[in-house]
Symmetry: C2
Subunit: 371 residues, 2 copies
DNA sequence: CGATAGACTGCAAACGATTGCAAAAACGCT
DNA sequence: AGCGTTTTTGCAATCGTTTGCAGTCTATCG
């Protein structure tokens, strides 16, 4: 059906081996025949068959990216970045969706190595450590965003402690003292790490950590909504909420809208991870950007490195952290006269709680206005 | 490194060919050896090498899906659906991102056929018709969502005329007479088709088509915002806006928020295509669902059919339309006393324009309330 | 009991490339 | 011209499967 190396060789009246060497540029051919063959190959429209080549060389020019889903905006950018980078290098990306399900992950992993992929970037569920470890002997692997504790795989992580710290500090600098935190399950790394960053920022500012302001759980939007309600219903509700969990943001926003709470006037809102519509939302939502772009790029870098190094790309470093970045938009507001410079102690809280009460009255006011 | 067929054969003291036949179930083996071999294969952890098999059979068990991006929610669900379906059948999905760029599309297409993919589902840019046509000789291809007029490829399309009709009719049934339309470029199929559905619904209801209410353009969120402003600034602004373009929705929402227009009280809003956060938005946004799920499923069905049929899966049908569906949420409201049954003529418009004026006064009211 | 059909099995040639090894050609030098 | 070197080429094996063909076995029947 298609033009094979043999055809090219015949047309050029040389042997297949010469043709192969000339076209792959494996040194041992004369300049002249090399050029002649490339020309003939082009004329004939020859395209090497990666399958046949792969059989011999054990390589497939296929690199897989295994993520949990495509709904998550971070995974989207990562997929796009990885695809773009790999393509430029002549690799095809095999994008797989594991749904954060260990069984699916395991299945996919085996099919992938069957297909003799040349490399793998994976967001591990954390439940297939032994399998991953075994595969790592055959294929260069880089873990992304999540660590699999059962392995010693090279891992590219977001700097969640720093991100959460950055976000919390931002709110503190704006004068907030009661900052609600809606955060992921504490049995996930990101859940723990984000909480720790939050705590550190508070400690550093000499603000006592109030446990009633910290809500953690296995998140879906519904839970986000519940948590947000709990925070707002507190006798002394927070003046700012830091939603440090991707899924929870939707629920929180809904509750805020339902109660007609004005952002940032009645409440400051800061979210973790960007979504394309956040900057179109009104008010545009300030975020801590986990650096999905950089994460993906670094992961690709590391993977390529290992692929080049043929088995011992092992530089001693096991873990890379990509810095988070604060993106200020319009959902956080400075409250009352915060000390302009770092002098004097933070004020006490009574006026803040009155601000929250204002929100309650505002709620009924706007409701009646609508009728 | 890994267990090959030869190893299995040796362990079972049979020839490679027998092993092959036993394991692939190609008839000609005795029940007994077949079972024995499957057992041994399992014990040894034998996994057939798809590359070697592919070389011989010309198949790769790889099916590619080529979409424009992953930001578009429709493409996300399609990717997830296709992946899930294919996986269940033992295929791996090769997800490629073409960025709606003809050159990239062309590149990707050639690499894909090089890799001897078994099938291809593509959202064509429409600029590589000849190439696609040529490839279709080697590989079963199904076009998705967009048609490539230069080819006669089997195509699975959303029923945009019907969707737009459905949406518009819904608004009309709610009593709206002045319905703004923000729609895509008229040189795209979907742009034209959505406009036509809108017009048909109006005609059918005996409502004159007012050109000033129809805004079309090459859309990005910014343009969506501009269009939305234009509509609202009209001397007689619409009482409902149908944003029939995915990208434009963000911009429109922002303008609505900026002007403090209450949905659905001051303005009804209906959008085309769903986004995961639409139902969490407050008010939850009513949409016309283009049926991404069904589209993807049908595309897979058709592709599989062609793949089975080995070249002549050609059933005569060239084009499939997947019905759109109206999903009512909270962003559209019945206005004034619309005729409860289909009797009498629609009322005239003065009261409606007063509704729009109300929105203007509301705007200043809420603004002052905030200060 | 021997012939013969039928069911299994094995040999060996593909598939399209890469690659070690040896032969051939080209070159430089005396 | 003859010889040793170096470069360039071709032969043939190989990667792990599948598959046509021929050979082997078993069973059945005359």
């Amino acid at each position: 059906m298609s033009v094979t190396l043999k055809d090219v060789a015949q047309a050029a009246r040389v042997s297949v081996s010469t043709a192969s060497r000339a076209l792959t540029g494996t040194g041992l051919t004369s300049e002249r025949t090399q050029q002649r063959l490339t020309r003939i190959a082009r004329e004939l429209g020859y395209r090497p068959n990666p399958i046949a080549r792969g059989l011999k060389t054990g390589q497939s020019r296929l690199v897989a990216l295994l993520v949990h889903n495509l709904t998550n905006a971070s995974f989207q950018v990562m997929a796009e970045v990885v695809q773009a980078r790999l393509k430029a290098l002549g690799y095809q990306m095999l994008l797989c969706i594991g749904g954060d399900d260990p069984e699916q992950e395991s299945d996919t992993l085996t099919t992938l190595v069957d297909h003799r992929i040349d490399g793998l970037i994976v967001v591990p569920t954390g439940k297939n450590g032994t399998q991953l470890k075994a595969l790592a002997k055959d294929v260069p692997i880089v873990c992304l965003v999540r660590r699999d504790d059962a392995t010693d795989l090279e891992t590219v992580l977001a700097d969640d402690p720093q991100g959460a710290y950055l976000g919390t500090r931002h709110l503190i600098e704006l004068g907030h003292r009661r900052i609600g935190l809606i955060v992921g399950r504490q049995d996930t790394t990101s859940g723990r790490e984000r909480l720790s960053g939050y705590v550190r920022a508070l400690r550093e500012a000499g603000i006592p950590v109030d446990d009633t302001l910290i809500l953690a759980g296995h998140f879906v939007p519904e839970t986000g909504a519940t948590c947000c309600r709990k925070l707002l219903d507190l006798p002394r509700p927070p003046s700012a909420i830091f939603v440090a969990n991707h899924e929870a943001t939707l629920g929180a926003l809904r509750v805020i809208a339902e109660r007609n709470i004005a952002i940032p006037d009645d409440l400051s809102l800061l979210c973790y991870e960007d979504m394309p519509w956040f900057e179109w939302h009104r008010p545009a939502i300030s975020i801590v950007d986990n650096g999905a772009h950089d994460l993906a790029n670094l992961a690709v870098d590391r993977l390529l490195h290992r692929m080049d190094a043929k088995g011992n790309g092992n530089d001693g470093v096991r873990e890379y952290r990509v810095g988070a970045r604060l993106v200020q938009r319009d959902s956080c507001r400075r409250i009352e006269a915060a000390p302009p410079a770092r002098s004097g102690k933070p004020r006490s809280s009574p006026s803040r709680s009155s601000a929250s009460k204002l929100s309650a009255s505002k709620l009924s006011a706007s409701k009646s206005a609508k009728v």
